[in-house]
Every structure is written in C-alpha cells, then in structure tokens.
C-alpha cells in the first residue's frame, strides 16, 4: 500500500499533470550506446608506435541497450538507476553531447543544451559577459540576450555586481546567476543531471520554486537523479533503468519501490559474491502492519514491527544479527542487534536452518523515508557473514511538524515564577 497521505500532499503541492493527449516532446527509439574502454590506454604516440595494435585491446561496455520511450509536452520526467546503469549516458545522448550508436531521438521545441548549472561560465569574465555568452550558448541571438540582460541580473538580484568578475563571486551568487541564466533561455525542454542534490538548503529551495514555475509554464523537464524523494515529489512519471535497459516506466511511487527492491536484490548479491562466502542469505524483510499484512509506511508515534527472515547456508558456532536505521540523507539514526539463539538458548546454527528476526520499535522518527541496513557477524573468529544495504525501507508520516531527525517523547513545562514573599 502506498503512503496515501504523503502522495496526496505532493500532488497538491505540484501542478496538474499534462493532458493525456499532450503532444510528444521527446521520442527515443531503440537507443544504443557502447563505450570502448581500453585495457591499456594508449595516450602517447610513442606507445602507439611501439605497440601499433595495442589500441585494439579494449573491452566494450554496453551503456545503453535498446532504450525506447516517449515524453509528452509539459511532463516532468525522472530517470533513475544505480551508478553505472546508463542514466547519465542517456541524458548526454538527449543533449547531443554523445552520439548514439543506433536508434533515433526526435524532439519538438528548443532544448536547453545544459545538463548542469553554471557550465560554460568563465570566471575571468564579468557577470554581464557571462550572461551574454551563456545566452548565446543556449541558442538565443546576441540581440535577444542583450535585451534580457537586465531582467536576468535583476532576477538573480545581482544588478549591482554586474561588472564584477565571476571569480570574485560567492558560491551563492554564482548559483543565483546560473539559475537565472537557465531560466532566461526560455527553452521548451530542459535536461538536468542531479542539480537538486547539490547545494545548500536555500539553493534547493530556490531550485524547487524554479522547477515548480517551469512545470506550471508547461516546460518539458527530464531529470536524472538518485533521490527517490525528488522523483516522488516532482515527477509526473519516471523511468527506472538498469544495465542499459528499461526496467519500468510509470508512476514515480512504483518506480521508487522497484528501485529500492533492486538495490536490495543487488545488495545481497554483491555482498555475498564479493566476499566469496555464502554463509547467510537474506530471504525477506518487511514492515508488518496491525493486521499482520505488509506496510510501506508507518505513522509517527505508532509502534514499528520489522520482520526479517534469514537462511543459514553454512554451519556456524554463533551469529550476531544487527541493523542500522538510516534516514533519507544517509545519516545513521540508531542501531540495534542481538545474537541468534536456538530455543534451548544455544548459539550454534546448521546449514539450512532459518532464522526469523522480530523487531518491535518505538517510533519517534521525524516524517520522511528511512532505510534499514542489515548485517550478520560471526561471533567466533569474527568477520562479516552478510551485509545488505537497504534491506528494507519505510516512510514515516504524521506527527507534529518539527525540525530534527527524531521527535523524542518529552515533558516540558514553562511557568511564570511566582514571587515568594
């Protein structure tokens, strides 16, 4: 069950979805892109002469393998995937930075050819010169840029610093300028790589406002990100890619869930595989609701019931199982654990046995998304038998609006002292 109230809040916040019959803005058909990674990089002519054929020693990395999709005009479209899944490559193909090996891309309207804020700024030039240069890079004529110059500087609140070289700008001023420049281009399609993830809170706030404005203006926006929060907050639709293939296109919340499940699968695979041991396997992990079903969200203040099932693959004299709860920013909130015991209190386990972990937690967590990493350690001889990141995740909703990462139960009283005579 999706966290209903969270979604509703996001939808009220966001602008209406584009109409189902909105014209196609970006159409990609069968995109393929491979990179050749030289095993021995030939960087100098001497090496080339000594080993004229060594440049053929490369391995082919298929970054994109047959990607097709359509984005309608006015859509805010998210592209998510793990590192190396090909999402940034896809964005660079759309932006004409890379050329596709196969497939076609068609677009309607003018594209802002930036995938990062502030690219192309020359710190040796003044803000005024940079605005003009950037405007032209985005496809405006020099005259158009000059006409908009004052408005751009005004929007960035930098009119009085127009003739200051950018190297003397503070980072905050740079960001304001970059943003203002991007907006001036008045492009129909924007491609953005992770900009929301960088910068301070004030910048993110400003980004958020600007995106809302662009959405309202019917711009088509394609955003590549790691952050499920951003996808769920802003995007109308999203696409999950993995190993250069589309895993799913559709509802952002569903994409978020699949992304986490994928991380969970891969996580255990990688840990077991890379450590070379298959001592313990994570079978399942979930949050139980009051009726004994599975839940994706829990209300602030109500008890959290976590259930985890493990399978022992190899005999062991004793195992410790531990968990750490991490919030959406990757900050560890708290951890807990215990030794695995048989019903008679002994600790040794045999291959094939299953371990059921039942956790009951108070829930003082502030609203937001949380992830739980799961680890199993050997008690004797030490070492990690299993480590799975994002073994499960849940959303906390409700509770009073407050700052901080937890809302601890507390008693507080403020009284006016009465004077004693």
């Amino acid at each position: 069950m999706p966290p209903e109230n969270v979604i509703k809040a996001a939808q009220i916040d966001g602008p209406p979805r584009p109409a189902a019959d909105a014209p196609t803005s970006i159409e990609a058909r069968g995109l393929e892109k491979a990179f050749r990674i030289p095993i021995h990089r030939v960087d100098s002519l001497k090496e080339r002469m000594v080993r004229p054929f060594s440049s053929r020693d490369y391995r082919e990395l298929q970054a994109l393998d047959g990607i097709s999709f359509e984005i309608r005009q006015g859509e805010f479209f998210g592209i998510v995937g793990r590192n190396g899944s090909g999402k940034s490559t896809l964005l660079k193909l759309l932006a004409s930075i890379y050329r596709a090996d196969a497939g076609t891309i068609r677009m309607a309207g003018r594209l802002a050819p930036f995938i990062e804020l502030g690219v192309g700024f020359n710190v040796e030039l003044t803000a005024r010169e940079n605005v003009v240069l950037n405007g032209v890079m985005m496809g405006l004529t020099q005259q158009e840029t000059r006409d908009r110059l004052d408005a751009v500087l005004e929007f960035a609140e930098l009119t009085e610093f127009a003739d200051l070289k950018l190297k003397n700008y503070s980072s905050g001023m740079l960001v304001r300028l970059a943003f203002s420049v991007m907006l001036q281009a008045d492009a129909d399609i924007l491609l953005i790589d992770e900009v929301l993830a960088v910068g301070d809170a004030a910048f993110q706030q400003k980004c958020g406002d600007a995106f809302r404005e662009m959405k309202a203006a019917g711009k088509t926006i394609v955003l590549v990100t790691h952050s499920m929060t951003i996808v769920e907050d802003y995007c109308h639709r999203a696409m999950l890619i993995d190993s250069g293939r589309i895993q799913h296109i559709g509802d952002p919340v569903e994409i978020g869930r699949q992304y986490l499940r994928m991380n969970f699968d891969k996580g255990s695979e990688i840990t077991e595989g890379s450590a070379g041991n298959d001592e313990v396997r994570l079978l399942d992990a979930w949050i139980e609701d009051v009726d004994g079903g599975r839940a994706a969200n829990v209300e602030h203040g109500s008890e959290i019931k976590m259930r985890v099932e493990l399978e022992v693959k190899r005999d062991a004299r004793g195992l410790d199982v531990g968990f750490i709860v991490v919030n959406g920013d990757g900050l560890g909130v708290f951890e807990f654990g215990t030794a695995v015991k048989n019903s008679d209190g002994s600790q040794s386990v045999q291959a094939g046995q299953r371990v059921r972990v039942e956790i009951e937690l108070e829930n003082p967590l502030a609203p937001g998304r949380y992830f739980v990493h799961c680890g199993v350690n050997r008690i004797h001889g030490g070492g990690v038998a299993l480590y799975v990141e994002n073994a499960l995740s849940f959303v906390v909703y409700g509770g009073p609006a407050a700052r901080g990462i937890v809302l601890l139960p507390h008693e507080i009283e403020a009284t006016v002292e009465e004077e004693t005579a």
């Binding site: 960087d43 002519l45 930075i97 890379y98 004529t141």
Partner: protein, 282 residues
C-alpha cells in the same frame, strides 16, 4: 486548462558535430568567444595590448642585432629589417594560434562534456583571437614600413590575399592539432619542436637568395615559405625573387600548394570524424 506553448513538430536530433546547432549560433559563439578572450587578455594585464606588441618587437630587436651586426647576413639585403619584422609578426600569429589551439579543446572540457556545443568553435576562436592581435600588430608594422621609406605600391592590395591563405593554413593546422591532442598528449611537445623547425625553414631570418640553390625546392615544400616570399615581393621589395621564380616557374609551386590543400582536407576530415566522439575521449 493550461495553455501549452507552441513548439512545432518533432525533429531528429543527430548528436554532436563540428558545427552543431546551426550557422547563426556557430557564428555568434565564435565571435563572442574570441572577442571576450581578446578583451580578457588585453584588458586583464597592466600594459594590455602593448604586451602583444612588445614580444615580437623584442625578438625583432635581438635578431636584427645578431644578423646585421654579428653574422651580417642582412647587411647587403635591401630593407632587411622590415623583412625581418614583417616575417616575425606574421609567424608569431601562426605560432601563437597553433600553440594555443593544441590544448584548447581539452581545456574547455566542461563545455565539451556538459553542453551541446559546436566543437569547431573552440580551436577557431583561438585562431581568431590571435588574428585580432595580428591585425593590430600589422597597423604598427605598416607604420614602420612607411617610416622606413618604402612607397606603397598597387601590389599591397594583394597582401590580404596572402593573409587569407595564412589564416586558412593556421586554422587547418589548429583543427588537426586540437583534435589529435585529445587522444595523444605528446602532440603539444612535438608541435613546439615542429613550429621551431618551421620558423627556421621559412625565409624570415634570411632572404632566400643566400640559401644554396639546391635546397630551394626542399625549403619550398613548406607552404609557409612561398607564402612569406611572395608577401616580401608584394609588400617590401618588388625586386626580390618571386615565389614562382625560386622554384623555376609556377609549376614548381605545385608541391607546396598540394601540401597546403592536403592539410586543409585532412583538417576537415579528421575534425568531422572525431568531433562526435570528443566528449567520450576526454
């Protein structure tokens, strides 16, 4: 209902290229990049434009002393100092432009990897910046020419033709170097040496007459050599041997012209071939 902005039909996106994004944008970007770079260099330093003049003038002063007072090559040649000055200023343009162009594409990594940008603009802007510089220097040089007492002749009108040829050759070499440097980082070192060789292989320090005759044809394989010789005839000394007469008639110029054209063709071919992949190779 929201009003959807009118954006027109779907158009195919063809990926990065040398010119990408239309001629208008190309020209605007080229102009802006070279003009701002020119301004940056000459308004960013205390003496500004003077520096760009001081460098060739210093070299000129030193060489003039060496070759008229010590080696005395130039003593018997009419207008030797003017010929030397002219040659140095023109060659400085070639050298400065090509040397700066080598690293230009790599230096603009951010732009190349993060934006859709017509690749050709980058080396071309470097050449154009150097060319602005040359134009300013030529004003000073022509001042010297007149002050020296050389009378303007109608052949001065042909000088822009030679200048255009030099500009084209410089551009072509810059294109080749900038795109090769992306994959072979020793191009920079090699080119420093080659440029030095070209300087001595062009009749700048010495008039062609004093070179033993059997070397003339070899020397004139260098496209810069006949070009500089012809400029000397047109602007400084009508009595000097023309480029054609050095190699025994116009047909003798064919090798140099072929090399010139070959370099231009190579430049267009290699740049077109590599431009779409520059972002990946960086």
């Amino acid at each position: 209902m929201r009003v959807q902005p009118e954006v027109g039909p779907l158009r195919e996106v063809r990926g990065p290229s040398a010119l990408g994004g239309g001629w208008r944008r190309f020209a605007d970007l080229l102009w802006l990049m070279s003009a701002t770079e020119f301004k940056r260099v000459y308004f960013g330093t205390v003496l500004g434009y003077l520096w760009s003049l001081v460098r060739p003038l210093m070299l000129f002063g030193v060489l003039l002393f060496v070759f008229t007072k010590i080696f005395r090559i130039g003593s018997g040649v009419p207008n030797y100092p003017i010929m030397l000055l002219f040659g140095i200023v023109l060659f400085s343009f070639f050298q400065e432009a090509t040397q700066n162009a080598v690293t230009s594409v790599v230096a603009q990594e951010g732009i190349v990897r993060k934006t859709q940008f017509p690749r050709l603009v980058i080396p071309l802007a470097v050449v154009l910046t150097a060319f602005f510089n040359l134009c300013l220097n030529l004003i000073v040089v022509f001042g010297f020419v007149l002050a020296w007492g050389i009378d303007p002749t109608w052949t001065w009108l042909l000088f822009p033709l030679a200048l255009a040829a030099l500009f084209i050759l410089t551009t072509a070499v810059s294109m080749i170097l900038s795109v090769l440097y992306v994959r072979f980082r020793d191009v920079l070192i090699i080119w420093t040496v080659v440029a030095q060789v070209l300087f001595y292989g062009t009749p700048i320090l010495y008039p062609i007459e004093i070179v033993p005759e059997q070397y003339w044809k070899i020397l004139f394989l260098n496209p810069l050599a006949p070009l500089f010789e012809q400029i000397r005839v047109w602007v400084i000394d009508p009595s000097a041997p023309t480029a054609a007469s050095v190699v025994g008639g116009a047909a003798g110029l064919l090798p140099a012209i072929s090399i010139f054209i070959g370099i231009c063709v190579l430049a267009v071919w290699i740049f077109n071939r590599d431009a779409p992949r520059i972002a990946e190779d960086l």
